[in-house]
């Protein structure tokens, strides 16, 4: 049975008349990189705030590491590192002093831990500059350093590549699987589809305060896969398939036949064609990108 680091059930949160989150259930397995994908205002950040004890749910329950956040909040949150929205630090303190301050609140590895965290995000040279003088990218990196400072089991990163240059973005994206490889669970909130697709094992797609799709990334992008079929006699094959259960999803372009959503049924289709004397020269599932899946699910109502 899988071990869940996050178990959220029936989360509801309203701000006045606005229902920000409407009955969200979330299960995140230990060691996974879990992506929360959705446009601004879709409820993913509010959900994350409830997971971190920053917002109280109107209904529902959050369990971290198998225990109720409402009852053991302080002890459980000590095992969590996070960067929520833009990194938040005291502007008049240096990057190093900001980490010292966090070490004072919850001591862990002292100065050695601070130096290691700064080094890991390539911030050692700027560590003694005041936070307010940092560029946005440096602030993001300091946020990640703070998130990993106390060696947490769960790391929640909300838009961690915001403001980073391409090199910084690449470094952070490389860092996320590294953190997971060390046995940590990572939750990545992002509106960048390719980012989530690149680094996340599982994905939840948020829209209007609900999760509209969830599952392993590979499964999610594979589920809607299209099957491309090339045969010597495409007209005969089309006639045959028009009389099959795949008729509604069939189309023909440039001599190839395409069957939507049939990526996993290649063997059955091949059998049908062969039994009628039509032998496929090409039979391949065309993998969707997460972007395709996202827009297929959310329609044109949102902009990720």
């Amino acid at each position: 049975m899988p071990e869940y680091v996050i178990e959220a059930r029936g989360l509801v949160k309203s701000y006045g008349e606005t229902r920000a989150v409407q009955g969200v259930d979330l299960l995140v397995e230990r060691g996974h990189v879990y992506g929360a994908l959705g446009p601004n205002g879709s409820g993913k950040s509010t959900t994350v705030r409830m997971l971190l004890g920053l917002a109280r749910p109107d209904a529902g329950e959050v369990k971290l590491f198998g225990q109720s956040l409402a009852h053991h909040g302080s002890a459980l949150l000590k095992r969590v590192g996070s960067v929520i929205e833009a990194p938040a630090f005291i502007p008049y303190l240096s990057g190093r002093d900001n980490l010292r301050l966090l070490e004072t609140y919850s001591p862990h590895n002292g100065e050695a831990g601070i130096a290691a965290a700064l080094d890991r995000v390539y911030l050692t040279d700027a560590a003694d500059r005041r936070f307010k003088t940092y560029s946005l990218g440096m602030k993001q990196r300091l946020g990640i350093a703070a998130a990993i400072l106390h060696d947490p089991d769960l790391i929640v990163l909300d838009e961690p590549t915001n403001g980073l240059d391409p090199q910084g973005t690449r470094e952070v994206r490389a860092l996320i699987p590294e953190l997971a490889a060390e046995g940590r669970t990572v939750v990545l909130c992002s509106h960048l589809l390719h980012e989530v697709e690149q680094v996340c094992d599982s994905v939840a797609i948020f829209q209007k305060g609900k999760i509209i799709a969830e599952g392993p990334t590979a499964q999610l992008v594979g589920e809607g896969a299209r099957l491309e079929v090339q045969v010597s006699d495409p007209a005969a094959a089309e006639t045959l398939l028009r009389a099959s259960p795949w008729a509604a999803d069939l189309s023909r372009q440039n001599g190839s036949l395409y069957i939507d959503g049939a990526g996993a049924q290649a063997a059955e289709i091949n059998r049908l064609l062969a039994s009628n004397g039509l032998y496929a020269s090409v039979l391949r599932p065309l993998r969707h990108s997460l972007e395709d899946v996202f827009f297929e699910l959310t329609g044109d109502e949102t902009h990720a």
Binding site: L77, E85, A88, Y92, D97, T104
Partner: protein
């Protein structure tokens, strides 16, 4: 709790505003004494009233009267500065979103807030003490300059000085905690400073109007902060109208017994603290 307090002290030590406010306290106290000195230097006019006022002023500025008059003078400045210190200490945590950073790392909310309460109260005492040291220096200089009495240097007098610093700090704390409460409620430093200082200035105006009323309206000022602060401040040694320990335009209060002043102020402290903790524990840190 110990860790939260250590962290709060770390922030306070490294915050420039801490030193700016302490310097402001020293500077304002010195400035006030200098203005009085300039006034004294000109001497009194021929009228009897002017000569009486002049004599009173000289006496008040002497080293022998530094405890009541020095602290009386400080009460006003210290209240302004301590309210600014506390409101920004709490409000900035929301403005910079660092409250969320800390709470999401498992720091108990009550520890976070309690550390702020302790540091605010501690800062109030330090600020009053700094102002008092400046007042001591200025009044010693005046006493030397005008051959005014220094008073005795008994242990009893020193003890009274410390007790008076404590009383002065105590009467400031309700407004300090009011600032903390409103910074917590409104999640903003600016609004908390505005409301608390507005209250500090306006309370005296409204209560002085109510003094002329009859029935229960007449009793309202006795339940407010200024009149009871004045009652406590009389124990510093200033009597009558000189003992106004309340707001900047305060009158009255000196007639109330001290125990009553202490009780009412403690009640206000408890109310502000209970609401602040209750609100901070239950509400969302970030929306």
């Amino acid at each position: 709790m110990r860790k939260a307090l250590a962290a709060e002290l770390f922030k306070t030590r490294n915050r420039r505003m801490t030193y700016v406010l302490l310097l402001a306290m020293a500077g304002l106290t010195a400035l006030f004494y200098i203005v009085l000195w300039l006034r004294l230097r000109d001497g009194p006019s021929a009228s009897v009233a002017s000569q009486v006022r002049y004599a009173g002023l000289r006496s008040g500025m002497s080293f022998s009267h530094v405890v009541p008059y020095g602290l009386q003078l400080e009460h006003f400045f210290a209240t302004l500065l301590c309210v600014v210190f506390t409101a920004t200490m709490m409000g900035n945590e929301y403005d910079w979103r660092t409250a969320g950073l800390v709470v999401s790392r498992g720091v108990r909310r009550r520890d976070f807030l309690a550390a702020k309460v302790i540091v605010s109260v501690g800062f109030t005492v330090v600020l009053v003490a700094v102002g008092f040291v400046v007042a001591l220096a200025c009044s010693a200089w005046f006493s030397h300059l005008y051959h005014l009495p220094y008073g005795d240097f008994s242990i009893g007098r020193v003890g009274n000085a410390f007790a008076s610093i404590g009383r002065t700090s105590f009467v400031i704390v309700p407004l300090v905690l009011m600032a903390l409460l409103f910074a917590t409620i409104w999640r903003s430093a600016g609004q908390a400073v505005g409301f608390s200082l507005g209250f500090f200035f306006m309370e005296s105006i409204f209560t002085s109007l109510l003094d002329t009323a009859h029935g229960f309206l007449e009793k309202i000022p006795e339940a407010m902060i200024n009149a009871n602060a004045a009652a406590v401040m009389t124990a510093n040694g200033v009597s009558g109208n000189e003992g106004q320990g309340g707001g900047p335009f305060s009158g009255g209060g000196a007639s109330l017994p001290m125990w009553r002043g202490v009780s009412v102020l403690v009640l206000w402290l408890v109310v502000f603290l209970v609401i602040a903790f209750w609100r901070f524990e239950r509400r969302d840190i970030q929306e």
